[in-house]
Symmetry: C2
Subunit: 365 residues, 2 copies
């Protein structure tokens, strides 16, 4: 009898979805029907100290003199929290945060609205949010680290393109009250170990082996790591990337010149032709927000993205020249203005989600 | 029309709950109906570096030479993920992890079953899982730290009472396959800043101001911090504590002698009488697992808990002597054997959840 009940319930949720699918933008209310939710670690390493562990002599906790002889440390894994909705679509969405951030990126927005985690659950996607190795809930590193706790909020205010500190950009899609700014800055979190791109990519590849073919949703620093993942995994069904900033892979004989910007230089990566070809087999969409001048502006928070956008265009062309399917959307070009480096949590994030939904539908994902 | 649909759905879930409430132990299947879920930061501090931030000169990212002049760091907060089920009970349950752990403690068990997060959601409790300041998703500390990445898994194997390494206790409620052990060790995570009990308690008190009167569910190190929270907050409606290990508060003139054990000493805290009285106003239940000898065994993983259990008994008596309502359950005394330091994720965690449910019902919470 209970089975019958749940079958009826699933049917009702399906009906509900159909009834509202013509107006997804307002769908942030009502029940979330979750078929399954949970968490696990994936990837990682095991480090073993020399010697033999003695459970009597070494079995008590003393932070200052604790012996590690013969003991292991399980670390360097990614952490994943997943939810599968009642009437789940085929492909999960795997959401991967950017630099200095963790899974919070996709959750409740700094001003308290629903983020992409909930929005795409409501649109019937299984959603996996991950913390990459040595970040957030994946906090145990096999290598030591010193975290200097150096204040940097204002640096990120600029790089994340809220404005040129202390001024917000006019029309920026960000609620400027004190509580929102406070929550936003608290999303920043340090590396809890050396940043290791190969380690991160390896963990996500292993995650994809578990999820099966999935949409990879990336942001900023994970944008580049997402390309590297797709080079090595056949489980990437498509990529939705927000504001990739680095690690663009090109065929070895077609690596473009590095692009200089105020405070840095953006270099591309060369990869073997056979690897590069994999990027032409999946649909990819890239979105950039607003306030990215096409020419160097003298403002370092902007110039980094002027360089990234220029490199992304070269990369789009390189993949498409080989028969790929990369779309690059600079949001102001389609009439959407004021977005920051975090379009998925900006005030208009439902509009952005609609763009993504439409693209996914178009690509039959 | 959509409102009508959801009302009907809520009614159906209510019916479903009523239909299964006589047999909660098998309720780990079927849909979770979530009315609301999200995350936020609470508590914390803001540190400001001297000087003036220059968005041009200091606005680019350079980890080795980045200037912090005039910048802020928002840190020392707790992170909270919450879910409110469709037919929610009055009081939320706030779940607070122990030492070396984070919110994962309450999520999927190491062997892949549902943890207390899901189990109590299914029993219609709003569930708030937190990462205390400088742990897990609350990773930004205002104070620097060096993390030494010293192997310590086998130490915790003993202290968490899986056995005396490398042997598991006979009959232990823990699945002993390699994958489970691997996931279990990966739950261990370091402090990402100096451990500060007052800071942790302050953040949880602020959380309770947001949730309103709540059941505080604590474990091990948060057991003691939970008592300290209840001393200072009027929003603790009751406490369910698993295996408290330290920070037992007694009236200043009734502080018991410290208890020595192999590798350490357990001291109690003295607090003013007026504060202590608050502990007598709320129902409290404490559970300890198995394999805690009443006399020192010469095994440090056990002796720490021999001391804790003895102190907990003194504390129970001290609170009850003043008219309080503290129950202390050593699980083998009620015929439940094999539990480790983590009864809520052990193989019999549904049986443990039933104990908790019955206690909550008895206390009309």
């Amino acid at each position: 009898m209970r089975v019958g009940f749940y079958l009826m319930l699933i049917t009702m949720f399906t009906d509900c979805k159909d009834a509202t699918s013509s107006a997804p933008s307002d769908a942030t209310e009502g029940l979330l029907a979750i078929k399954e939710q949970g968490s696990f670690f994936v990837g990682g390493s095991v480090k073993t100290a020399p010697g033999v562990f003695d459970p009597i002599a070494h079995g008590f906790f003393n932070p200052s003199s604790q012996a590690s002889e013969g003991q292991t440390l399980h670390g360097d894994h990614a952490y994943v929290f997943y939810q599968v909705p009642a009437d789940a679509r085929e492909h999960p969405i795997v959401m991967w945060h950017g630099y200095g951030q963790f899974s919070k990126t996709w959750e409740t927005t700094p001003d308290g609205r629903e983020g992409f985690q909930n929005i795409f659950l409501r649109r019937n996607w299984p959603v996996y949010v991950l913390d990459q190795p040595r970040r957030g809930r994946a906090g145990r590193s096999s290598e030591p680290v010193t975290i200097d706790a150096r204040p940097s909020d204002q640096l990120w205010f600029g790089i994340f393109r809220l404005g040129v500190y202390p001024d917000f950009y006019p029309g920026v899609q960000f609620k400027q009250d004190a509580e929102t700014v406070d929550q936003y800055f608290r999303q920043i979190t340090p590396d809890i170990g050396p940043l290791d791109i190969d380690l991160n990519v390896a963990a996500v590849i292993e995650l994809l082996e578990r999820t099966g073919p999935s949409i990879l949703m990336t942001h900023s620093h994970s944008g580049g790591m997402g390309w590297l993942t797709a080079l090595r995994s056949d489980k990437v069904a498509g990529i939705v990337c927000f504001e990739p900033g680095s690690n663009f892979p090109f065929p070895e004989d077609k690596v473009p010149e590095p692009i200089n910007y105020l405070g840095g230089v953006l270099s591309a990566r060369g990869v073997p032709d056979a690897d590069f070809t994999r990027l032409t087999k999946i649909p990819i969409v890239i979105y950039y927000g607003d306030n990215i001048p096409r020419e160097p502006s003298g403002k370092p928070g902007e110039e980094q993205w002027t360089a990234a956008l220029a490199m992304a265009e070269k990369w789009r062309d390189a993949v498409n020249d080989r028969g790929g399917d990369v779309s690059l959307v600079y949001l102001p070009d389609v009439g959407i203005t004021g977005n920051t480096h975090f379009p998925f949590s900006d005030l208009n994030n439902l509009e952005i989600a609609d763009l993504v939904s439409n693209w996914l539908a178009e690509k039959k994902l």
